[in-house]
């Protein structure tokens, strides 16, 4: 038989592993979604750079495809884990988040395309950073890195080069971040 100190140590070991499994599953799911959103954002930024007149359609398509893809990834994960991660409540939270951003960018303020490029990226990275407070520091690291590079681009990358910069920083950043998170 063991004493209470050894028993407490064994229970602490169990708690530690449970936390690591939980975080590993969150990172696994989040990395898939991050890579998908990264690809969409990369393509939309490049398309906006090449054919700026249809920019609104590209970004509308990003949201529609992103939401559909998030549901699909969630459904695929539900089959293997038994847990539903992207449900109607998450969708509503996402839509409220986007609606508030729209209010800021188009109603209260009238942002230029350049300001919008920086605003939406930083705004979404705020969401990632907040998520990181509950779900793991990798979210915070990715959010801070993308935000810092976005600000560098906003202040120092001039003219049309800003859109390809954002494609690499935002789209590419999410893809690289997702791959890094998968290995964490």
């Amino acid at each position: 038989m063991i004493d209470s100190k050894q028993a407490a140590s064994a229970l602490a070991e169990i708690d530690d592993i449970v936390q690591r499994v939980r975080q590993s599953r969150i990172y696994d799911l989040a990395s898939q979604m991050m890579i998908m959103w990264g690809v969409l954002v990369f393509v939309a930024n490049i398309a906006t750079w090449l054919w700026p007149r249809e920019a609104y359609y590209y970004w509308l398509a990003v949201y529609v495809l992103g939401i559909a893809g998030s549901f699909a990834i969630s459904a695929a994960n539900q089959a293997s884990t038994g847990v539903r991660s992207f449900d109607m409540r998450v969708l509503l939270a996402f839509l409220m988040f986007v609606a508030f951003g729209f209010l800021c960018a188009h109603v209260l303020g009238h942002f230029t395309p350049r300001q919008q490029g920086a605003f939406w990226t930083i705004y979404f990275m705020l969401f990632y950073a907040l998520a990181g407070l509950w779900f793991g520091t990798a979210f915070v690291v990715i959010a801070l890195a993308i935000t810092a590079l976005t600000l560098v681009g906003y202040f120092f990358v001039t003219g049309d080069a800003f859109l390809p910069w954002m494609a690499v920083v935002n789209g590419g950043g999410l893809i690289v971040g997702g791959l890094w998170m998968r290995r964490s």
């Binding site: 038989m1 063991i2 229970l11 070991e13 599953r25």
Partner: protein, 100 residues
């Protein structure tokens, strides 16, 4: 008086069972590589302890090919989950001073 489960009590086997029990019962289990990362064990050590747990009927091991790569998935059985829950309850009893 409840007894500690000698098979589960070994430190690495305790980690393996804790990791597998952290998944919902409907989940597909954990891949060998993921389990290795979570427990910090070496290939040989982990394989040997999984075999011990499998012989006791606490885990099931599925080997399959994903593309050309072999993939081993380890899942806690109902008997394993029950044994783990009893083991944890015994640890809690020891801490509460119900067992000496």
């Amino acid at each position: 008086m409840a007894e500690l489960d000698d098979i589960i009590h070994q430190p690495l086997r305790l980690k393996i069972m804790a990791a597998l029990n952290a998944l919902p019962t409907t989940a597909a289990g954990l891949e060998f590589s993921r389990l290795k990362k979570l427990t910090g064990a070496t290939d040989g050590n982990l394989g040997a302890h999984i075999e011990t747990l499998a012989k006791a009927g606490y885990v099931s091991v599925d080997k399959a090919f994903v593309g050309k790569k072999p993939q081993t998935t380890v899942t806690a059985t109902a008997a394993g989950r029950g044994a783990f829950a009893r083991h944890v309850a015994t640890l809690q009893e020891i801490i509460a001073g119900k067992q000496v």
